[in-house]
Every structure is written in structure tokens, then in C-alpha cells.
């Protein structure tokens, strides 16, 4: 179980973003964290991965205190993070990046298993460089493939819908649906999208730096749909903190 206790974080110029947030994420569940722009969702995701360091509070992973662990140590303990805006690398191929993620050399069959889960044909992609020749949709899928290859206890996806066109998003939803069927470990997805919310086990609403409410997806969906326009928020308007 991933447990966050009384987490606070301020921007370098002193704006309070997370204000004593508490959250428990149970094992083997798909948890979607949603809420209004600027509420602290991406900050929360980055604090879990160790990319941002909390100003106060504690983080426990399976009762191990990881509060002071850095990104590398958390990754080794079993936390993966899929970036909202995946990074590109000149000269590093898709094959190499997936191998770096898995920690092992992979044959074509292994690569095909991973890449087919994100809807890519290994033959067409393994020798391509992870550079600007890949489209927004392609780079998102490769980013997801890198976290899948790690097979960790906890995987955090920061707004997978951001920065891709509607057609790519539509097929990306299918990728998450397939991953949902074969869920190993805990998935935490930061998202505004109703179609991602609809495949969650649990939904957590973060607003104004705290957990506003949380519960089983069915109950929470009703609550959300009653609130004006949350599922219609344009992801491109998201304010990164």
C-alpha cells in the first residue's frame, strides 16, 4: 500500500499547492486522481515519484518510509512514473529505452509483447530513435511501454491524455482498458477524462491542495457528473505546477 501523510508543498515563490494532504492507495487497484486545474494533481504525482520533494509529511510504500528517498531509490523500490510530456532522446532507440526500463536485454518476442500492449508493432518501432520524428501519440505509447516494462508495484501516469489528438486519445483509452483487464500492481492515473475515470476502481478528487473526496468509481462518477463541467475540462488548459 502507498500511504501519504500530511503532505505539503509550496512553489519556490511560496504559493501553497499541497496543504497537508493525506491519501491511502490500496494494492492492485486502478485509482484515478482528478480535480480542477491548479488543484495539485500533477504536483502530487511528482511527489510520489520523488521528482518534487515535499516540504513536510511522510510517504510509506508497503510500510517502508520512502520520504527521504530520491527518484532513483524510489524507482528501485517499485515506483514507476509516466511523464505527461514524454522526453525525447536523440540516438536512443525504442528498443534501447524499453530495455533500459526493464533492466534486461530483450529479444524481438519480448519487445513485441510490451509494444503490442500499447498498440505498436515492434517491427516498425524497435529501431526507431525516440526523437522528434515520433508523433505525440507514438511517444505517449512508448512512454507507457517503458513503465509497463518495469512491472513495478506502483505506476503513476500523469495526464496521459495531454498533448495528443482525439484520434490518438481514442485508441489510448483502449490501451488503458487492456491494461485494466490484466492489472498487476497499483495504477494511479492523473486525468480529467471521463473515459479514463470510467475504468477506475477508485476515484480521488484533489482540489485546493487537499483530498476533496474519494470513493468507489461508481459513486464518485455520479458526484462528478453532477458537478458542472469537470469531465469537459480541456486538458490543454491544465496549469502545470
Amino acid at each position: 500500500m502507498l500511504k501519504l501523510e500530511n503532505i505539503s508543498w509550496n512553489t519556490p515563490n511560496g504559493v501553497e499547492v499541497l496543504k497537508g494532504l493525506d491519501l491511502e492507495v490500496p494494492d492492485s487497484k486502478l485509482v484515478v486522481i482528478t480535480g480542477p486545474n491548479g488543484g495539485g494533481k500533477t504536483t502530487l504525482a511528482k511527489i510520489i515519484a520523488g521528482i518534487y520533494k515535499q516540504d513536510s509529511g511522510r510517504i510509506l510504500l508497503d510500510d517502508i518510509d520512502i520520504t527521504e528517498k530520491n527518484i532513483t531509490e524510489r524507482a528501485k523500490l517499485g515506483i514507476s512514473f509516466a511523464f505527461q510530456q514524454p522526453v525525447r532522446f536523440k540516438g536512443i532507440t525504442v528498443k534501447k529505452l524499453v530495455e533500459l526500463a526493464s533492466g534486461n536485454k530483450m529479444n524481438d518476442g519480448d519487445l513485441c509483447d510490451i509494444l503490442s500492449k500499447v498498440g505498436l508493432c515492434a517491427r516498425e518501432y524497435i529501431n526507431r530513435e525516440v526523437d522528434s520524428t515520433l508523433s505525440g501519440g507514438e511517444i505517449k505509447r512508448i512512454e507507457i511501454a517503458t513503465v509497463l516494462a518495469r512491472k513495478t508495484k506502483v505506476t503513476v501516469f500523469d495526464e496521459p491524455e495531454a498533448g495528443i489528438d482525439l484520434w490518438s486519445f481514442s485508441s489510448l483509452i483502449n490501451v488503458f482498458k487492456e491494461m485494466r483487464k490484466d492489472l498487476k500492481g497499483t495504477m494511479i492515473i492523473i486525468s480529467h477524462q471521463e473515459r479514463i475515470l470510467s475504468i477506475a476502481d477508485e476515484i480521488v478528487i484533489v482540489a485546493d491542495g487537499k483530498i476533496k473526496s474519494k470513493g468507489p468509481a461508481e459513486t464518485m462518477m455520479k458526484e462528478l457528473l453532477n458537478e458542472k463541467g469537470i469531465s469537459n475540462v480541456c486538458s490543454k488548459q491544465e496549469v502545470l505546477l
Binding site: I71, K90, G91, I92, L100
Partner: protein
């Protein structure tokens, strides 16, 4: 052949006790072995140190290797190698140079290569430069390449200098004929107090000629690199150059690309990017379980691969 030459050959060429195809091994300015094939004749150049390599028209799939090794300090080797590639030939040329010194004396190799490509010929040119040994003597490699590309010929140059060479001045000049294509991929890594200077001058003289010049460099520690490219479009042609450099610690890179369109249908593009490794790249690899140092080294290895 010296043991040290064998060690260098393994690094700079595909030598594993023997060469595939025709070859000439240059060791401290002398010939340490030569074999010609039916289609590829290697002879001494008249009047100057070096070789004439004549590749018969229609030679397909053959390889010729011409490595040069300097195994100790106090050597200043100068060599002129001319390649005449017959029409419709399709061959691989493996060059490369290794410099080793264990003393305070400098060691230098200056290879001047001239390529004359016949109509419809295709050449893949592979060149790897390294410096080894613990001596304080400067290891210098100063290659000069001149190429004339005949009608519809293709010259693909893949050159790499990954460490150990203290001083380099590279000059590459090419005249590209009708329908011919020149593809250059250069990688240079400098560290400590090393310097590397690379100059390109490509004249696109033939209709539908083209050049694609990609240079990637990494300047670490106190090293310095200079890049200068000149592409001149004298005909309807396409030219693309790309200079990407990563700097770390006190590394410095000077880049000066020039494009000259002297024909209304010349389409020339240059792209350049110099900077340190992007923080996001390090972060991404750390989220995969690497330390910052491992991430940096992985990014540089990939960039120069």
C-alpha cells in the same frame, strides 16, 4: 606486426586476426601487410607516401580496409591515399586510425584521402579514430578528405572519434555531381583538455545533387570543439546540415554553419542545437532506476551511437 598495432586494429576496424577482402595495414609509417583482390588493387603512390586503391567497375559487396596505427611517441606520419571507384561499384571502405603513446613525445597521423567516385557507384566509408596509452605526449589525428562524386553516385561517410585523441583538425571537401548524394555522419567526443576542429565544404554542382551532413559532438571537462560547415548550392539541389552538441562541465563548442544558395532551385537547411543534457532526460532515466551519473553516460552513449 607489433602487439600494440593488433590492439589498435581491433578497436578501429573489424580486424579479428585477419581482414575480410583487400587491405593495407600502415604501422608507424610503414606497410605491415597488404593484400589486393581481383577487383580491388592496392599499389604504392608515386612521388608521395601513400596508396592508390583502384576498385574495378561493377565490383559489388567487397570491402577494402586501410587502417593506420602509430604505436609510440616521436612519430609524425603523413599519408596520401587515393581511391578510384569504378562505375556501378558498390563497396565498403574501412579506414580508421589508432595512436598510442606511453611517453612524453607527441604522436601524429595526418591522413589525406581522396575519393573519385565513378558514375552510379556507391561507397560506404567507415572511419574510427582513437588514442590510447598513458604517455603525456600529445596524440593528434588530422584527417583531410576530398571527394568528387560522379553522376548518380552515393558516398556515405560514417566517422567517429570517441576519446583519447588530444588534438584534431578535420577537413572534408566534396564536389557533388548530377544526381549524386553525399551522406555524412560524424561523431566526436572530447574530454580533459582535448580540442577538435571540424570543417566541411560541400559544393552541390550537379542537378538533383544532395548532401545530408549530421554532426554530433560531446565536449566534456575543459575540452573545446569547433564546427564549421559550408554548403554551396550551385544547381537545383538539396542540402541539409545538422550540428548537435552536448556540453558538460567546462566544455565549449563553437558552431558556424554557412549555407550559400547560388541557384534559384537550391533548397538548403541547417539545424543546430548546443546545450547541456536536458534535465528532463536525466529525470526520465532516474525514474527507470538509474543514478544521475548512469543517466548522463547513457544519454551521451546514445547520442554518439
Amino acid at each position: 606486426m607489433e602487439k600494440q598495432t593488433e590492439a589498435l586494429l581491433r578497436e578501429i576496424s573489424e580486424w579479428n586476426g585477419e581482414f575480410k577482402g583487400a587491405y593495407n595495414i600502415r604501422e608507424n609509417g610503414q606497410c605491415a601487410g597488404r593484400v589486393s583482390s581481383k577487383n580491388i588493387k592496392i599499389t604504392n603512390k608515386e612521388g608521395k607516401p601513400g596508396l592508390e586503391i583502384r576498385i574495378a567497375p561493377g565490383t559489388i559487396g567487397e570491402t577494402v580496409s586501410i587502417p593506420a596505427c602509430v604505436t609510440h611517441g616521436g612519430v609524425d606520419d603523413l599519408v596520401y591515399n587515393d581511391f578510384y571507384v569504378g562505375e556501378n561499384a558498390d563497396v565498403t571502405i574501412i579506414a580508421g586510425c589508432g595512436i598510442h603513446t606511453e611517453t612524453g613525445e607527441p604522436a601524429r597521423h595526418n591522413g589525406i584521402h581522396r575519393f573519385i567516385l565513378g558514375k552510379n557507384s556507391k561507397v560506404k566509408y567507415l572511419e574510427k579514430h582513437i588514442g590510447t596509452g598513458h604517455g603525456t605526449g600529445l596524440r593528434s589525428i588530422d584527417p583531410v578528405t576530398e571527394a568528387e562524386l560522379g553522376e548518380n553516385s552515393v558516398l556515405e561517410m560514417d566517422t567517429a572519434q570517441i576519446g583519447g585523441v588530444d588534438r584534431t583538425e578535420r577537413q572534408t571537401k566534396a564536389i557533388v555531381g548530377e544526381g549524386a548524394k553525399l551522406l555524412i555522419r560524424e561523431r566526436i567526443l572530447t574530454e580533459k583538455d582535448q580540442t577538435a576542429k571540424t570543417e566541411f565544404e560541400v559544393e552541390l554542382n550537379g542537378k538533383n545533387s544532395g548532401v545530408d551532413l549530421i554532426s554530433r559532438s560531446v565536449a566534456k571537462d575543459n575540452s573545446r570543439q569547433g564546427y564549421h560547415s559550408v554548403i554551396i548550392g550551385n544547381a537545383p539541389c538539396t542540402g541539409h546540415s545538422e550540428c548537435d552538441a552536448i556540453i558538460s562541465e567546462n566544455g565549449k563548442v563553437d558552431a558556424a554553419p554557412e549555407l550559400h544558395a547560388h541557384d534559384n532551385d537550391a533548397a538548403l537547411i541547417h539545424e543546430a542545437a548546443i546545450g547541456k543534457i536536458a534535465g528532463e532526460q536525466i529525470l526520465k532515466l532516474c525514474t527507470l532506476g538509474m543514478t544521475e551519473q548512469e543517466a548522463e553516460s547513457t544519454i551521451i552513449d546514445g547520442f554518439l551511437s
